[in-house]
Amino acid sequence: MTLAACALVLIGGFFGGISRFFLSGFVGRGVGETFPWGTLAVNVSGALAIGAFAGAARAVGGVFASDLVRDLIVVGLFGGYTTVSSFCLQTLNLALDGERQLAVFNVVASAALCVLFVALGFWAVVWMAG
């Protein structure tokens, strides 16, 4: 818990947030806003990235296992990029609009795909690192 760590989290969180805003807006404009595909794309890609980073920390070590790099990339960038709050807001809005099946689908798809993509990212890097 140092000032440097806090500064790195602030920087990572800033870029994570604007990346999420860009991608969720881009996907939303592309496929429509009825179903929150944008947030799903953000959370699934963030899951792949954090899984890959965790794989690198374990199999490669070095810079990937350093606390300050972790604070910048994992806590700041990936943490700021992915979101549970927008996921809840959009799920609840689907349910309140009477789209219960879509709401349930969003919950199941988000949870299952995110854990699956963490595993994919993790094992891909561990495998590539030999």
Partner: protein
């Protein structure tokens, strides 16, 4: 044209600054939960997700067109897409779940993921209900 560009820049800055502050709040609450309260890091992720989900739905409902509070789009983006998005994290929650699976703790992994998602949705609904009551 320049006006549109400036507005987009304002929204991006609002989200970025909110997300930076939200991420720092997540980092600091993780420190409090893990180092001061000496609880498992799983509780830190659960806490920020449940709290952030309450805030976003409470704020979104309070500031909707027929809500009590008038907030412009930059302000809404700062709080919702920015602060709440930065405070909450789907990636850490998924990684925590995966690591529990990797350790062979399938039951705890399932319990953790299901309960954090359910509690976050429940607190979002609570935020909605409380703000809707204030709006009346």
């Amino acid at each position: 044209m320049t006006g549109g560009g400036t507005q987009a820049t304002r929204l991006y800055l609002a989200v970025g600054c909110g997300a930076a502050i939200g991420s720092l709040a997540r980092f600091l609450s993780g420190y409090v939960v893990v180092s001061l309260l000496e609880l498992n890091a799983l509780y830190a992720t659960a806490f920020v997700n449940v709290v952030g989900s309450w805030i976003i739905m409470f704020f979104a409902t309070l500031t909707r067109p027929d809500g009590r509070l008038m907030v412009g789009s930059a302000g809404r983006n700062f709080v919702m897409g920015g602060f709440c998005g930065g405070l909450t994290t789907f990636s850490a929650m998924s990684l925590d779940t995966f690591i529990l699976l990797l350790e062979g703790d399938v039951r705890q992994a399932a319990t953790y993921l299901v309960s954090v998602v359910a509690l976050s949705l429940g607190s979002a609904w609570l935020g909605y209900a409380m703000a809707a009551r204030i709006n009346r």
